[in-house]
Chain length 426, copies 2
């Protein structure tokens, strides 16, 4: 009991020390030029490349432990560091190095009547805590994006990847040293004690933002317990609505098929298809048979069932993120019913309309309350890379600060700048 | 006991019903054209104008109760609705009506290689809960700004202003009706039961954002108890730093004097003055005597005390927001020391440098981690009106979402829009 308490205090002290070092590093990173940040990123890439064998050996320890513990195959697959994945991390670092530095950009600078020039200047957030699950490559992705945006990062990976993460952290630290950046700029919490997460998400004087990357239960737990703002990524219960004015049956079917089948497991995958009653008879039989051939189980409302052989959908289906080969389909009477369905049952992530009507597309964009609204494109495009962000730290389902795919800009904030020549007020 | 419980449940039900009505109204307001929102605002102004006597009578009830309860004079003054203050509310409504509608603006729209056009579209947040203290004019200011930004608002004023707020709410509701907008677009919680605040700040399925306007204890309590994002306005412990390269002693003195004396009680008032050691002897004796003549008590570090007769400053002075006629003064060795002092002791609100050095001003703007950074202008300019925002709902000391004075734009968010022509992924 006493020993447990002593250990727990020491975990917290360890985490606070890392956060304190990060806070100090953030003062330096706040105005570190892009050149130095890029130098560190490319040096990290070189370190990864030259230490492939050591990385794979460390990873082997994690894999052996995971197998010994009987962890499931999907998790073990995510955990594995292959040469291909090391190449991916190296490429990711060079991509982030090539992105424009968001820090220092001026926006909305206007001269007021009294001659003061007032505008906004983009600036780092400060210290960001990132909590993630088994994929060790997140260690590099998160470190790179935070650093490029001028933030210090404190990372807490899954305990099953601890040897891999420690080896990657070594490469990160070496890259920082090559560029002369503070060692505290990126820290990986080494202990697997779960108290470390609690300490990190309540270090409100030292950490400015928490980004959890993982399943819903992790995110929910962190949101509830954190005393620091949390950038959340919750469900993607995404819809495609085929409007009465869809340009062609073929386009509507292709978009719906792609939205469901590009990848079942991504948060932008369509989970419910809504079809205007005027197009249902023409589109649904052919689309459903294509989906079923592809291995998708289709569940339909009464009207859908009257048009084509499908499983019956219950009200629960409208609220379910399958993340798998299942699709709910509903026929609606009009655009109003489609929008109401999406706003009521959806998760405000990404929703699409297929239409050639300007009025319908405008209403859909204005009235659907989602982080991404697509017109004549499938929801599976919801992704920072596809959006031209270069890289993403996640997809925010929050409404404030950053919404949708979050890239470098979402890892910064803005301050007002006021430039005068001695003006006084009043 | 049983009665108390029954009452408490009914307060919560009352608040949830208002929030539910606001949620439904927000679906309409999301795409209400500016013309209709402005019509409502101007009709509210007309209602206030034509019902001055009723407003003043309602206010008299609050004033009588406040006097009977022995509330302090400053509070009673803030509570009073004079003709001048009613004129102020009317003018405020017409100002907000004249501001550009932020909703629907497109930003950063770019065509990707696959022909998808992707950008951001400004959109209302949804439902905003505002909790404020005795000034009844906040009822109008908050309602007007939220409505113009396309949000529904649920307002909870101080119990000491309940009759005034109810009378003002009547004018708001009439204005909504004239423009054909939902009655639930703006609601004022009528009950004075404190459980109403608890219900509002935990109605996380119905309310998107809480904005508390009031003292630090109110804001701290709400931040701790809310399960909804809170836009906070905490202290303004603001600094002016007179650099070695200040353009002239006169400009430096004028800026420092104005920063302290424009108004002691505003959050942008200077609380600590930092002076480079090379300029201290030339500036401090004259500046201190001007401040003392104006009634300001000056507390200085050892070096200041060696130059001019002042009270000694202790380390507590560096951390104190006086909001009154007291000023702490410290002599620093260089810009580094000034920036370190500000980032350590300040509240990250508004801080100014007086300098003619480009290098020093650039470093100050980059390294001082405050929501507003001024160059050659006093901190007391930190204000939405001065910044050209037209009106402000408050000054955010948060780093995320909105930072500094918050106007219409801070009451909105952005969604991604993706416009395709049938593109599919992969």
């Amino acid at each position: 009991m006493n020993q447990g308490q002593a250990e727990s205090v020491s975990v917290e002290e360890h985490v606070y020390a890392l956060c304190q070092a990060a806070r100090e590093a953030s003062q330096v990173l706040r105005s570190t030029p892009a050149h130095d940040k890029n130098k560190a990123l490319l040096a990290m890439a070189e370190a990864l490349d030259s230490r492939r064998e050591a990385l794979k050996q460390a990873n082997q320890l994690d894999l052996d432990l995971a197998r010994a513990q009987g962890l499931d195959k999907a998790l073990i697959d995510r955990l594995a560091l292959t040469d291909e994945r090391i190449d991916g991390m190296i490429k990711g670092l060079s991509t982030v190095a090539s992105l424009a530095d968001p820090v220092g950009a001026l926006d909305q600078v206007r001269e007021q009547a009294n001659g003061l020039r007032i505008g906004k200047r983009r600036t780092p957030i400060g210290v960001i805590g990132i909590i993630y699950e088994s994929r060790p490559n997140v260690t590099i992705d998160a470190a790179a994006l935070c650093l490029k945006a001028g933030n210090a990062a404190v990372l807490r990976g899954g305990s099953e990847a601890r040897h891999s993460n420690a080896a990657i952290a070594g490469c990160v630290k070496d890259g920082l040293a090559v560029a002369g950046l503070p060692d505290g700029s990126v820290s990986v919490i080494g202990t697997t004690d779960r108290a470390a997460v609690g300490a990190l998400i309540t270090a409100s004087k030292l950490v400015d933002l928490i980004i959890p990357r993982g399943g819903k239960s992790l995110i929910t737990r962190i949101s509830n317990e954190a005393t620091i703002p949390v950038l959340k990524h919750l469900e993607g219960l995404c819809h495609v609505y085929i409007d009465a004015q869809a340009q062609s049956d073929a386009m509507a079917m292709d978009i719906a098929f792609n939205a469901k089948c590009y990848r079942y497991g991504i948060c932008g995958a369509m989970e419910t298809l809504l079809v205007h009653r005027d197009r249902a008879a023409a589109i649904l039989p052919a689309l459903v048979s294509r989906l079923v051939e592809h291995g998708v189980e289709v569940r339909g409302c009464d009207t859908v069932q009257s048009l084509v052989a499908v499983h019956p959908a219950t009200v629960d289906d409208w609220s379910t993120e399958y993340l798998g080969p299942v699709l709910a389909v509903r026929v609606v009477n009009d655009l109003d019913e489609a929008i109401a369905h999406i706003n009521h049952y959806g998760s405000h992530h990404s929703d699409a309309i297929v239409t050639d009507s300007l009025t319908a597309s405008e209403r859909f964009m204005a009235e659907v309350d989602s982080s991404s609204v697509m017109v004549n494109a499938p929801t599976c495009f919801a992704d920072g890379g596809e959006y031209g962000l270069g890289a993403e730290i996640g997809i925010s389902t929050d409404k404030l600060h950053a919404r949708g795919p979050v890239g470098l800009e979402g890892l910064t904030t803005q301050k007002y700048i006021v430039i005068g020549q001695g003006q006084c007020r009043g």
